[in-house]
Symmetry: C2
Subunit: 277 residues, 2 copies
């Protein structure tokens, strides 16, 4: 027996949630695909990172943060944080049903499973995403004979946050993380970027992985999935800056300074509203 | 006019507080200097790191976390977190007076000011410690003609947390951070490790800095300062393991796994009590 769904206000904004600024890569992809939609983005910067915390804590934080977006009348929720997508999606769906809740894990896993020829797929993610096994399970559900190699890459998060994306140090760190995946005929042919921070490092990741490896970015595949699934707002394309509201739980200055790398646009502290959770 | 101080129970434990496991380097130094004392250590692992957060947020977290130790009847509080020492010491002293509250910044700064011959002192710390200028001010207060060069080193925190302390990658990252400090006759002669994570990387820091640079570790200098200042408990030396209680706000397994590097002793998840703040 299903409850009657409340009438959806198509002009309501879509909520996008992340532990910090990394999810701005997802927001950027969503805005590119759905230019007539409005968005409210919340970065829980006071409590980031989620990637080193326990599942129980991440669930609690995610439900609390999403509540803030629900209060603001969003018509759908996109969990742009890989860690929260991996461990808190069920809790979020239960807490806010019948609100449609989308994560980044399933779209990313589906895309990786689809593009891989050999079925040998590498996944780079945070410590808790890897430990929870969400990407491994999602890929194997779709493609039973795949071989999935997952690796926690905490240094890539710090490099991306720091904007340290060129030169010798990022290259050596990436080589060290990818080394075990890249052995001649046994090499992976697909590399899934299972953390919203990693697209920032796409150039160095592609160079080290080599031409034989396809990079799959869960930001792009998630935007595609969300755009297909939810009711589209009719109307003219909006100016991206005007069509989004940015919320953070701490330090608007840092959010603006680091966030501009992820959003690929200029950002000022005044563009961000500080909230308490 | 000073209020009468309540009688201090000399056998009460000393509280030690940090955002995570890094402060275990301070606990270790305290236990070595004060073997008859008991300690309660609290790592606020659910909300780490503090080093990228605003002063206001760090103050709020620190006062809340310290309250937990005060409830457990500590006779003094050691703030083993550089970031909280730099921005929250006044708030903590106000909140819990007349409890003696010790930070790591002043002892570290005093030691660096004392050992430097040239007065050219490098400080490696977190983003918010550097931005707040606490070490710079503390050193210049003590030694007016010193020249202090401070650098935020987020990658060193991640390296230490990850136990990645040997080899080419840590060496290159340290070289990149120290490069600007080490120019021939203009080089620093003293390097202050202004984050409790950094003593873990002491070997590579010393190697890159070279023989002409003295490393000052605020864990050791703080332990010395605390031992001099507070009433010592008479009695026989206690077995370190039995003389301390370890509390964490998240993930006992990670605390044990990462914490053992900092404490320099075996640790199991069962040694840590999980609390909510």
């Amino acid at each position: 027996m299903s409850e009657p769904r409340p009438a959806v206000d198509a002009s309501a904004p879509i909520g996008v949630f992340d532990s910090g600024v990394g999810g701005l890569t997802v927001l950027k992809a969503l805005q590119a695909r759905m230019p007539a939609e409005r968005f409210v983005y919340l970065g829980d910067t006071a409590r980031l990172p989620y990637g080193t915390k326990s599942a129980r804590t991440v669930q609690r934080y995610a439900v609390q943060a999403a509540g803030q977006l629900v209060t603001r009348g969003v018509k759908a929720l996109v969990v742009a944080c890989n860690t929260a997508s991996a461990v808190a999606l069920v809790a979020l769906r239960e807490a806010y049903q019948p609100l449609p809740v989308f994560g980044v894990v399933d779209p990313g896993a589906a895309a990786a499973g689809r593009v891989s020829r050999s079925g040998r797929i590498g996944v780079l993610a945070t410590e808790s995403t890897v430990r929870g096994g969400a990407y491994q399970h999602a890929i194997l559900n779709l493609r039973r004979n795949a071989r999935v190699f997952a690796r926690a890459c905490p240094m890539l998060v710090t490099l991306a946050e720091d904007g340290w994306i060129d030169g010798d140090v990022p290259e050596r760190i990436v080589s060290s993380y990818l080394g075990a995946f890249l052995h001649g005929g046994e090499s992976i042919d697909t590399l899934l970027l299972g953390c919203t921070h990693f697209p920032i490092l796409r150039d160095v990741l592609a160079r080290v992985a080599g031409a034989g490896v396809t990079l799959v970015d869960s930001a792009e595949t998630t935007a595609q999935h969300v755009a297909t699934a939810i009711e589209r707002t009719a109307g003219a394309a909006l100016e991206p800056h005007a069509a989004r509201l940015l919320l953070a739980t701490d330090d608007r200055h840092r959010f603006a300074r680091v966030g501009r790398y992820f959003l690929g646009e200029a950002l000022a502290a005044e563009d961000i509203e500080l909230i308490d959770l």
